[in-house]
């Protein structure tokens, strides 16, 4: 039996990062974390351990992200100027902000996949969350990394 408080403490920072990767907006990401844990709290008594609890929570979170479109909330995409000179001595916060912006420019499923990959989830678990095959996930992660590399290079942020 899982305790809601400990699940919330363990997973809310991770879920926040994944939601942030999807929406690139602090307030929207916080709302999505809350919506996710509302669903977790409501469905926890019926959770049958058919999958890992982390897989279950990530599924709920990413489904809420996908549904955020249905609610017509604005997903923050930042148009980044191209061909900037190399950016040096950036703070970690600035680097992270750029990473979020770069991810926000990807298509929806790619945003979810790369956020889960960056979160350190095994690719088999990403496949269980997204409903894709493990092979498809591996191929997609490779392509997404290439896309991100191009973006970083274009903005002088990648050697």
């Amino acid at each position: 039996m899982h305790d809601f408080d400990s699940l919330y403490k363990t997973y809310s920072p991770q879920i926040f990062r994944v939601c942030m990767g999807y929406v690139n907006d602090h307030d929207r990401a916080k709302d999505l974390v809350q919506e996710t844990f509302i669903a977790v709290w409501r469905n926890l008594p019926g959770f049958r351990n058919e999958s890992k609890v982390s897989t279950w929570i990530y599924r709920i979170a990413t489904n809420h992200c996908l549904r955020a479109l249905e609610k017509e909330k604005r997903i923050t995409k930042v148009d980044m100027p191209e061909n900037l000179a190399a950016v040096e001595d950036e703070s970690p916060e600035e680097k992270l902000a750029f990473l979020y912006s770069a991810i926000a420019g990807l298509p929806e499923m790619e945003r979810i996949i790369i956020s889960l990959e960056l979160e350190g989830l095994p690719q088999i678990q990403i496949a269980e969350i997204t409903g894709l095959t493990a092979v498809n996930v591996r191929v997609k992660i490779h392509r997404i990394k290439e896309k991100l590399a191009v973006k970083f290079k274009q903005h002088g942020r990648f050697d």
Binding site: F4, G21, I38, R59, E70, P107, G120, G131
Partner: protein, 194 residues
């Protein structure tokens, strides 16, 4: 940025944001559940109440003309359609399964199709019943006064025409555009999984 392999470290270095603590969240959950279900429960309760009162009136009131009895029955049928639609929608979302993203997208598409069917068929059926009920109900009470009958029926028919030929088409067009746009977006996300 030195290397893409460092992205993972950078990603996980994000400072924790101020999220509400678990107790605070549970209070929010109780409030959220209340507001979320309130409208659906209210519409089902009102519909059931109208059905009960209408049937009671039908059984207890004497000397009701056939037109009045038919109006009451049409009204009861409209309320049953309303209650059944809301109950089905509540059941569908309460029983939401542990879907992966792909299955969830298909679930959302099905929900959109159901909504379009609701606007195309269920709403038309409900409005037809309400229209019939609204036209038949006053007949018995206005039969003795031609002037009153003309006045009331002019107003009622005018309102029905506005409802059918102005309000409903506008509302249908607005909802259809929104639903079609959403279906297009979900279709595009599903295409990304191929």
């Amino acid at each position: 940025m030195e290397d893409l392999d460092n992205l993972k470290n950078l990603w996980q270095s994000a400072k924790p944001v101020e999220l509400p603590d678990a107790a605070e969240l549970q209070q929010d959950i109780k409030d959220f559940r209340g507001t979320k279900l309130r409208n659906k429960v209210l519409s089902v309760t009102v519909a059931v109440l109208i059905v009960v009162l209408s049937l009671a009136a039908l059984l207890l009131a004497q000397n009701l003309w056939l037109s009045t009895q038919a109006a009451i029955l049409f009204n009861v049928a409209a309320c049953i359609v309303l209650a059944a639609t809301n109950l089905r929608s509540m059941k569908r979302f309460i029983g939401l399964k542990d879907f992966n993203n792909l299955d969830f997208l298909h679930f959302l598409q099905q929900t959109q199709r159901n909504q379009i069917r609701y606007y195309q068929r269920t709403e038309v059926a409900g409005l037809t019943l309400v229209t019939a009920s609204t036209l038949l109900f006053p007949y018995q009470f206005l039969a003795d006064s031609l002037a009153m009958a003309i006045g009331i029926y002019t107003f009622v028919v005018g309102w029905i025409l506005v409802l059918w030929f102005y309000i409903r088409p506008r509302s249908f067009s607005k909802h259809s555009k929104k639903l079609n746009a959403e279906m297009g977006r979900f279709e595009s996300i599903i295409q990304q999984t191929l």
